[in-house]
Symmetry: C2
Subunit: 398 residues, 2 copies
């Protein structure tokens, strides 16, 4: 495993005595970040509406970008020729690229899959492309991300146990090929590769996938194929049984989840890394996460409100603008609305991760779990209008 340690090290600095949560630090060749960590989603090499300078000011240390989208537009060669994704985006932080597996398979009618890989028709130009475990590693080598993900095949909600096994067998076999290709002579040594656990919605299915993925050996482990339409109780049940099976000395990443309350609950189950479109997508739909619950800026209640969006927030949106102005921008469909609310929501998520890390160190995580469940389940603040897994069901390319 020394090759893994060249690429990524994970140090656990504190552990919660009441839950499975741990606080730690991931070190990569080009930088490091504290965990639990939230990665804002920058599908097309842009966290929608924010500049690279905004990301720096927010304290974002790692973002997610989408292999599927960038491979098609502008093309991975364009990004490689500009010196990689970081230089292309003018962003000096870390970048994780997902494998495109989810995006390919969310286009079910257009995809043909066999053991070799997945053939799909581009949503941009209609051309047919083939993703193989090897080609997806090479695309991400061209992108130059810090953490790569192998081509995987999620098990759709509602799949029979036998089909779930067959799909996962193929996904796990692809993972082995991806890792072999990653470690081939000439493969880049400055990029880590995570394994993705699939296995459907049963403890047995997941456990079998964990065994095989951990046997292959990766620089970190992701849990995929959740938040795709199942009830939250199913998701939390699978997570509770799967997370403890993953090696404790490497980071655990839950893909595509979730709301603030979900994140804290998943941290208590031992998850270290998250990505989700919720804070950015909700911002573009004029909704904000605040210390007073979720606020919908189109609500007429805010028409003349000469108060900050969140009185306890120190982000520039809350420090500079009255909520009446934010509402006006929303009603007038002004670009600036998306930008100011995206900044605020990302700030909220990062601050929440900071609070979670402190709560782990101070042994108060259960209180934070309760606080977030109360805040977001009360009738006053409502539950989320955008269901979990929205990202995992759509392309989100605008």
């Amino acid at each position: 495993m020394s090759s893994s340690f060249d690429r990524l090290t994970f140090e656990t600095t504190d552990a919660c005595p009441h839950t499975h949560a741990r606080r730690g630090r991931v070190r990569l060749r080009r930088g490091e970040f504290e965990t639990p960590a939230f990665m804002p989603v920058g599908t097309q090499a842009t966290v929608k509406s924010l500049t690279a300078e905004d990301l720096e000011r927010l304290g974002v240390r790692i973002i997610l970008a989408n292999t599927y989208h960038l491979y098609q537009r502008p093309g991975s060669h364009v990004i490689r020729d500009c010196g990689g994704l970081q230089r292309f985006m003018g962003y000096p932080g870390l970048i994780l690229t997902d494998s495109g597996g989810y995006q390919v398979f969310s286009l079910q009618p257009l995809v043909r899959v066999d053991d070799q890989g997945a053939r799909f028709r581009s949503h941009i130009d209609g051309a047919v492309h083939l993703f193989t475990p090897e080609s997806v590693v090479e695309i991400q080598e061209a992108l130059g991300s810090d953490i790569m993900m192998p081509l995987d095949q999620p098990v759709p909600w509602g799949t029979s146990p036998a089909d779930a096994r067959a799909i996962t067998d193929r996904s796990d076999a692809w993972a082995a090929r991806a890792r072999a290709h990653h470690l081939r002579d000439g493969g880049r040594r400055d990029q880590a590769l995570f394994g993705i656990v699939q296995g459907g919605f049963t403890a047995e299915g997941r456990a079998a996938s964990v065994r095989r993925i951990v046997d292959i050996g990766f620089d970190g482990y992701a849990i995929g194929g959740l938040s795709v339409g199942e009830e939250k109780s199913v998701m939390f049940g699978v997570l509770a049984e799967t997370a403890p099976l993953l090696p404790a000395h490497l980071p655990r990443y839950l893909m595509g989840v979730g709301t603030p309350a979900d994140l804290i609950r998943c941290i208590a189950l031992g998850i270290d890394m998250f990505d989700c479109v919720l804070p950015t997508r909700l911002a573009r739909n004029c909704a904000a996460y605040t210390s007073e619950g979720r606020k919908h800026l189109r609500n007429a209640h805010y028409t003349s409100a000469d108060v900050p969006l969140d009185p306890r927030c120190d982000c520039p949106t809350c420090q500079r603008y009255p909520v009446a102005y934010l509402r006006h921008l929303c009603m007038a469909k002004e670009i600036l609305a998306s930008r100011l609310l995206t900044y605020h929501n990302i700030h909220y998520y990062l601050r929440l991760m900071e609070r979670a890390r402190d709560a782990i160190s101070q042994c108060t995580l259960p209180e934070l779990v309760s606080e977030m469940e109360d805040l977001y389940s009360s009738p006053a603040t409502g539950s989320d209008p955008v269901r979990m897994g929205t990202k995992r069901r759509s392309l989100d390319y605008h």
Copy 2:
């Protein structure tokens, strides 16, 4: 005229020996700015895609906002209740509000005009509203802008001389009522009011309007009703005959003009202040003004260009991002494209005004006129795809 001097003073610091250009400084109660000056357009209380902080960093000292739009949405009472437009927008600089006259009359089929004022149907909710010279002053008092404009009626291009006279007679009579209302007991003392010269497209019509508007006496003078479809030679001809008739000791503002080359030419004719949507609108259409001419980022030429948008520009867009990235954002219709290009184009316009001021001081303005005409009339860089006067023909509310 001492009341004018309370509200606005204009000091000419340099004059060009070869042209009518002058360099100066406008002082208002809440701030000051150097002339020649360009005012970015913030129709709906936002310079589209830019934050108030961006405006500060750009060195923007004065912007234009639209009375017509803000009166309807969010309503001037909302802005008044938030402490005025500056506080509402979180923007500490100066604000000029136009009168809404142009917007009302650009909706010809929906407007009824008589000596009392103009009745129009809202483009937002279909309700009928009445603008009078007095009500428009009061709306701008509620908005709390630093420079107000009186309700005017532009003469459409192609109007007969007799009709042009009748329209201008009414517009000039409205100007007198606006000024009287502005100076009434209880009127605010911290807002300046400019007169707007109309008179159509003949030297005689313009001269007659100048006489009446100057007789009324304002804190500054605007030339309206140009750049509405006429040939540029007509516009420059009218300007050359009208500008010298305006008092030399007060600022002269040409409304709604224009391209970089137009601005420099109009400065040579004695104009001190400008507003135009071109730099912001072109940015949203993926075009940029640069030291190498106008560039259209959708051009495939830029696909892999790992160079700055403008190698001689020191704005953050040019300092941080390769042009290939800007093109990618344009092709992917990402919000960030508008933002980065808007920032650059406004920076270009402000820097151009700085160069014009220096050229006046250094007696080199004719060289700058030639440079801009060469830069923007060469086949390589092309002429403007968005014609002058676009703003004055549309509502620009998105």
